[in-house]
């Protein structure tokens, strides 16, 4: 009996020793470096008749893809001089060892072709470490549209590698400013999100402020002092035709579109009181949304159109409120120190971006729609009016500098910052700029 027990004991010990626990190791740190990617120049068939044109356009397209990825702050496009493989072979079968050597983790290759006045661009996205292709797409369009092809390709790559929709095939509308600080000449300007293709929509004869796109990016609503009457206007980008919105007997301002594009929501000021109104663009019916002796302004719809966040000083100072889209159920959501303004609802529906003023400094921040989780992203002498990228990840806003006693040294510039507070970036514009607003994805 003792021997049996002893044997059993030995066996138990033996098995206990050999059945080791599965070792678990927690990896809670990594580097927050942008992902190294290699953007290979687009491959051109040497026999092609348009080879020169294709080469030039191909290199421009890959440059735009590179710049877009770099500016997003999430990617690090590697220097082309270090590329070992030629574009043609890389596009067919990359030698992943070569790309691994230069530390690339993703590779983008492509091919460009222009025949019969048609542009065709093909691209492939490769996972260098897994040594396999993870995406391949081709686009056909007119040659003039080559910039948009580059932006759409970037969107696809971005989406595949981050899991989120991109924001590169978009436009930004803003107010271009020039002149002495107390007599600025302002024009509506529109440009690609990377600063290219700037176009002016007004001449600068009257003051224009706060322009916003409609959901299809074909119309713009803004405020103008045309004929010295400050009113909200509607502008068709294609035709250039402008019309006043409604027949209000007083100043209207701070306009935005509803998410379905059917209404314009704005503030109307009369006898010292500003309230929020909407006007249906088809029926022309005007609806009152707020009724309060305090200033109610800067309204912004939630993406599902059911709620509106706005700025009101009914508590004594500017704070942010939420209400249902019919004006009922008004609730204050900001209770922190300082005063809050310019609330704008994220396209994802989960956050509201705002401007905060505290102790003579200006902050851009985000908070949840119930007012909790306030996070301040950046601080400055003066900055305000954030606007969301269509994927709800990036905010664009404007800054003004302190000027001397005669207004010298004054400048207004556009900036963008990632939702996480990283990647604060100056957005280059041809002139001084303010009041930026981001379009939705053009390709949708």
């Amino acid at each position: 009996m003792k021997n049996v027990l002893f044997l059993i004991f030995l066996l138990v010990v033996f098995f206990a020793k050999s059945s080791f626990a599965l070792i678990e190791i927690d990896i809670t740190r990594g580097n927050l470096n942008p992902l190294p990617v290699a953007v290979s120049p687009l491959y051109v068939e040497s026999k092609s008749s348009e080879a020169l044109k294709e080469l030039e356009m191909g290199s421009k397209i890959s440059k735009i893809i590179e710049t877009n990825l770099l500016r997003s702050g999430l990617f690090n496009p590697l220097e082309k001089d270090s590329f070992v493989q030629k574009p043609d072979i890389a596009h067919l079968k990359p030698r992943f060892e070569d790309w691994k050597l230069i530390k690339a983790q993703a590779l983008i290759t492509g091919k460009i072709n222009i025949t019969d006045d048609k542009l065709r661009v093909e691209f492939r996205l490769w996972d260098v470490l897994a040594a396999k292709e993870i995406m391949a797409l081709a686009f056909t369009t007119v040659p003039d549209n080559w910039r948009r092809v580059a932006h759409i390709i970037t969107d696809k790559i971005y989406e595949r590698l981050t899991g989120e929709e991109g924001y590169f095939d978009t436009r930004i509308i803003y107010v271009s400013e020039k002149g002495p600080k107390n007599r600025r000449i302002k024009k509506l300007a529109i440009m690609d999100q990377d600063g290219a293709n700037t176009k002016y929509l007004t001449l600068g004869n009257e003051l224009v402020l706060t322009p916003r796109f409609n959901p299809t990016n074909q119309m713009v609503t803004y405020m103008s002092y045309f004929r010295n009457l400050p009113r909200v206007y509607l502008l068709d980008i294609e035709t250039g035709v402008q019309e006043v919105v409604g027949e209000f007997p007083g100043m209207t301002f701070a306009p935005r579109f509803s998410p379905d594009g059917k209404k314009i929501i704005m503030s109307f000021a009369k006898d010292g009181n500003s309230d929020i109104f909407t006007m249906n663009l088809e029926t022309r019916v005007v609806e009152r949304i707020t009724e309060h002796p305090a200033i109610d302004t800067s309204p912004s719809y939630s993406p599902n159109g059911k709620y509106i966040c706005f700025n009101s000083d009914r508590s004594g100072y500017q704070q942010i409120y939420i209400m249902r889209s019919d004006g009922s159920n008004v609730k204050r959501i900001t209770f922190g120190q300082g005063i809050y303004g310019t609330p704008v609802w994220s396209p994802r529906g989960d956050l509201i971006a705002f401007t905060k003023m505290y102790k003579n400094r200006f902050y851009i921040g985000v908070m949840r729609i119930d007012g909790s989780g306030e996070r301040l992203l950046t601080e400055n002498y003066y900055q305000e009016a954030p606007s969301w990228s269509p994927n709800g990840r990036v905010l664009i806003f404007y800054r003004e500098t302190k000027s001397g006693s005669q207004g010298e040294g004054f400048s207004a510039t556009l900036w963008s910052i990632d939702l996480t507070g990283y990647n604060e970036r100056l957005i280059e514009t041809l002139t001084d700029a303010s009041d930026p607003s981001w379009s939705s994805l053009l390709s949708k």
Binding site: A21, L22, I23, I25, G30, L32, L74, G373, R375, L376
Partner: protein, 268 residues
């Protein structure tokens, strides 16, 4: 009598003017609380984590950035937990310093600090009953109970008791993977960012097979970021081959599970 009234008025004027003028000087300065010194408990990892030094610069840069950024009203609950319930209310500066200091520390250290407090309150890990259990039961069972208590902490004590890797062995491996893992910056910071990957290794540290637990989550709508996170973890493992495995005891570590958690880095 006139003389005395006159003298009295003069004296009154002098006193009043003295008090009026001296008001600014009499403003009391707030009592300066002694600066809070946070004691950095030196862990063994401090010595074995030397390869981490070049990364430290990046972290320090990040901290400098944090310093410039304004800390929002609602401090993350983590920090609040650290203070004992009857702690002196800290002046704002000390609070900031403490927050930055904790970032500098290896996450392990934060846990140790919490442990210092909780030792007196919770007696989690040094429970004599559990230690008795360790002696009696087989290693496998102990490992399960120990790990279940808190997945996200890096408790050296737990690993030391339960796993087969020594502290320095584990540190070497961790440091290696820390360097290889490029955390995608685009991840939503308020979601569960944990990817668990099981590995089968060869004796030289190369990976024979890798398996993502929670594989189904990769295709769940609304969890697209999980696929991205998982892919980044796989890239890290591939990049880091051959893994820095111990030279002996292959049977101990031939099956390894790496729990990639991006929460700490992204929540900041």
């Amino acid at each position: 009598m006139n003389k005395s009234i006159f003298l009295s008025v003069i004296f009154h004027i002098i006193i009043i003017s003295l008090t009026a003028i001296s008001f600014p000087y009499m403003i009391r300065k707030p009592i300066d609380l002694p600066p809070i010194i946070s004691i950095e408990l030196i862990q063994i990892s401090d010595f074995t984590n030397i390869p981490y030094a070049p990364k430290a610069k990046k972290i320090l840069e990040k901290i400098k950035k944090e310093k410039e950024r304004v800390i929002s009203e609602q401090a993350p609950p983590k920090i609040v937990k650290k203070e004992k319930p009857d702690a002196i209310p800290l002046p704002k500066d000390a609070k900031k310093k403490k927050k930055i200091k904790t970032k500098k520390q290896n996450p392990k250290k934060i846990e140790s600090e919490i442990k210092q407090v909780s030792e007196f309150e919770k007696k989690e890990l040094f429970d004599p009953d559990q230690i008795a259990a360790l002696i009696d039961k087989s290693k496998v069972e102990t490992a399960e109970t120990m790990r279940k208590s808190d997945k996200l902490t890096q408790s050296q004590d737990k690993n030391f008791i339960a796993s087969g890797l020594s502290l320095s062995e584990e540190d070497a491996l961790k440091a290696q993977i820390f360097g290889c893992w490029s955390i995608p910056l685009g991840l939503p910071y308020n979601e569960n960012l944990l990817v668990r990957i099981k590995l089968k290794l060869k004796t030289d540290g190369t990976v024979i097979k890798s398996e993502i637990l929670d594989h189904a989550r990769m295709n769940t709508p609304g969890q697209g970021f999980y696929k991205v996170l998982a892919e980044s973890a796989l890239r890290a493992i591939r990049l880091c081959q051959p893994l820095r495995v111990p030279t002996t005891g292959y049977d101990r570590w031939k099956d390894l599970q790496l729990n990639f958690d991006a929460n700490e880095m992204l929540k900041g």
